[in-house]
């Protein structure tokens, strides 16, 4: 019976979407904010990558909330999974290939991750993508040798400080009368590594925070006692 009602619900939804689908015309409406930003972003924010100027400049508030969601998910995950039983069974150490590979990959991944974070305002990529690469860089040794646990205190300290730096940069603008999260410092010339004022600093804070948070989340999930 339940399957029937769900199937009917789905059919109705499909018809509704088909009706909307017919009424839509694609790509005829001009994106108001988009065109204004495309014309004004170069001199207002000074980042070569306009998506970064939107993520950190025009809509920096969304990114701050985005960081808070990851922080909350990590905290709630820690709350849910709770402390690990000290005598919980751990996975056996991984084979030689993974251990050798882990030792080789770790420095490369860290370099790539930091590169992507630092060039966030020039080329595609940035704090989120670089942070994920850093998280996997710190997680692979844990896969290779489950015996050596990651120190959660270090991870949560980096997490807290990076997040606080992001908001502190935002609050700095308020001290001299500007609105919250206004991009600071001089913009430098377009395309240079040291350009777009405080945006690279913000993306560095985002990268460190996302990296440490996701590494903590992965560690929590993999450290809960091994089943079978």
């Amino acid at each position: 019976m339940r399957r029937l009602s769900s199937a009917l619900f789905l059919l109705g939804l499909g018809l509704l979407i088909a009706a909307i689908f017919k009424g839509m015309e694609f790509g005829t409406v001009a994106p108001i904010a988009g065109q204004l930003i495309n014309s004004a972003a170069a001199e207002q924010v000074g980042a070569a990558n306009f998506v970064t100027s939107v993520v950190l400049g025009y809509r920096g508030f969304d990114t701050l909330l985005e960081l808070t969601i990851l922080f909350t998910a990590a905290t709630a995950g820690g709350l849910v999974l709770g402390k690990r039983a000290p005598n919980a069974k751990r996975d056996p150490d991984a084979g030689f290939i993974l251990q050798a590979g882990a030792d080789l990959l770790f420095p490369l991944l860290v370099v790539v991750g930091v590169y992507i974070i630092l060039h966030g305002h020039l080329t595609p990529g940035g704090g989120f993508q670089g942070g994920v690469i850093l998280a996997s860089a710190f997680f692979i040794p844990m896969l290779a040798r489950p015996g050596t646990p990651m120190s959660h205190t270090a991870v949560s300290t980096i997490e807290g400080l990076a997040g606080a730096c992001f908001i502190f940069i935002g609050l700095l603008a308020m001290f001299d009368g500007e609105a919250f999260l206004t991009p600071l410092m001089d913009k430098g010339e377009l395309g240079a590594l040291l350009s777009a004022g405080s945006l690279p600093l913000l993306y560095l804070a985002v990268g460190l925070k996302v990296g440490s948070e996701l590494a903590g989340l992965l560690a929590h999930l993999s450290e809960s006692e091994a089943v079978d």
Partner: protein, 147 residues
């Protein structure tokens, strides 16, 4: 003759419908979480398609050359945020699934709901009438008072 916009929009709506079907029809918790992830992917694609136009170029200035007709950067920033939200919630959902499986020994949502209702009733001290359609396994479990 083949309208790319039509294909892309049908992909977005298709993903949304498959995601909703996954949530509504499946009983196993992990499959429902797959459905949620697919639904969010479909919504993200639809958001990016909103102001997409053929022939626009990426909104990035490379070597000082400003492309004349750039894509809209705003939905790209929004989808970037939505994807990272999705992974945050996915991690929380999987941790909860882990604890539910450890507490109830099953991930079948009908049985989980049955056991949860039973536990709420026991905690509140009201004797829940053994509902007639409860599967035999749950009846047996209730006799030995497990979990």
């Amino acid at each position: 003759m083949l309208d790319t916009g039509l294909v892309l929009y049908s992909a977005a709506f298709g993903l949304i419908l498959i995601g909703i079907a996954g949530i509504v029809l499946s009983a196993h918790l992990v499959r429902i979480i797959f459905g949620v992830a697919l639904l969010e992917a479909g919504a993200n694609l639809l958001l990016l398609l909103a102001t997409w136009r053929e022939g626009a170029s990426a909104p990035i200035i490379v070597a000082g050359r400003v492309p004349e007709f750039m894509a809209d950067p705003v939905p790209q920033a929004l989808v970037l945020t939505a994807i990272v939200i999705g992974v945050g919630i996915l991690a929380l959902a999987l941790s909860l699934a882990l604890r539910v499986q450890r507490a109830y020994g099953t991930l079948d949502m009908h049985e989980v709901r049955q056991r949860m209702e039973q536990e709420i009733a026991d905690q509140a001290g009201i004797d829940m009438p053994a509902s007639s359609h409860a599967p035999a396994a749950v009846q047996a479990a209730r006799q030995e008072g497990s979990a």
